[in-house]
């Protein structure tokens, strides 16, 4: 027993001290890396939101432009008479048929884009405003939508596939 007690005391003390130092260094490194890690995670979250928002805006943009391009009034039509039933805008002459309307509607949760019965839905949008794309004389020539998604405001101006003949002087 005496021999073992005469063992240098540094052996056990050094281990404990080293453990303490290692723990202290680990704590210091964790504390130092926490702001970096938290900012990286926050940046990742914001990046995901922005990317999803941009993809939703792209889908909405492509759908609205594709629908507007299908609205083709014949050259002899005097004008495209729009309709605004509730939270929707309707334009006749979808696929060249006067009685077939192109509909864009907002029900508070999703934007419906397409025909009256078969519409494509785009969700995740906010503050949607439905309007018409008009020329200087007030003729309706397309859709104009404003919305927010992914923390950004977007505006889509989509012209119809064809425009009615512009009125000239003397035309009724």
């Amino acid at each position: 027993m005496r021999e073992s007690s005469s063992k240098p005391r540094n052996d056990s003390g050094a281990t404990f001290a080293h453990t303490l130092v290692a723990l202290a260094v680990l704590v210091a490194m964790s504390a130092a890396s926490y702001p970096l890690a938290s900012s990286a995670i926050a940046a990742l979250g914001k990046a995901a939101d922005s990317a999803f928002g941009a993809s939703r805006a792209l889908v909405a943009d492509a759908s609205i432009r594709a629908l507007a391009a299908r609205v083709r009034a014949p050259f002899w039509a005097a004008s495209i008479e729009p309709a605004n039933p509730g939270d929707a805008i309707e334009a006749p002459w979808l696929d060249g048929e006067m009685e077939k309307p192109a509909v864009i509607a907002w029900d508070g949760e999703a934007l419906r884009i397409g025909e009256a019965e078969a519409a494509f839905r785009v969700g995740g949008l906010e503050h949607v405003e439905l309007a018409w794309l008009e020329d200087g004389r007030g003729r309706v020539l397309g859709f104009a939508l404003a919305f927010e998604t992914g923390g950004r405001a977007w505006r889509v101006e989509a012209p119809f596939g064809s425009f009615p003949r512009p009125r000239t002087e003397g035309t009724p």
Partner: protein, 67 residues
């Protein structure tokens, strides 16, 4: 766990240093991947804004030509 005998030879310091370096590299890699994703998302948003703005410019040109 290291024994006290190996402590004397200095192995714990070396091992701890290696572990710390690995932890630091892993943290830096994770942070870098997060920031790279943020850059990619910003790039995607900028391209989307550019694309939609081009479409809107084209629409205005068509409307002006129709007047």
């Amino acid at each position: 766990m290291r024994t006290s005998r190996r402590t004397d030879s200095g192995w714990i310091e070396a091992d701890a240093a290696v572990a710390l370096v690995i932890i630091a590299l892993a943290a830096a890699g994770a942070a870098e991947s997060g920031f790279a994703a943020a850059r990619a998302a910003r790039d995607l948003v900028a391209r989307t804004q550019n694309l939609i703005a081009l479409g809107n410019d084209h629409a205005r040109v068509l409307v002006e030509a129709a007047e």
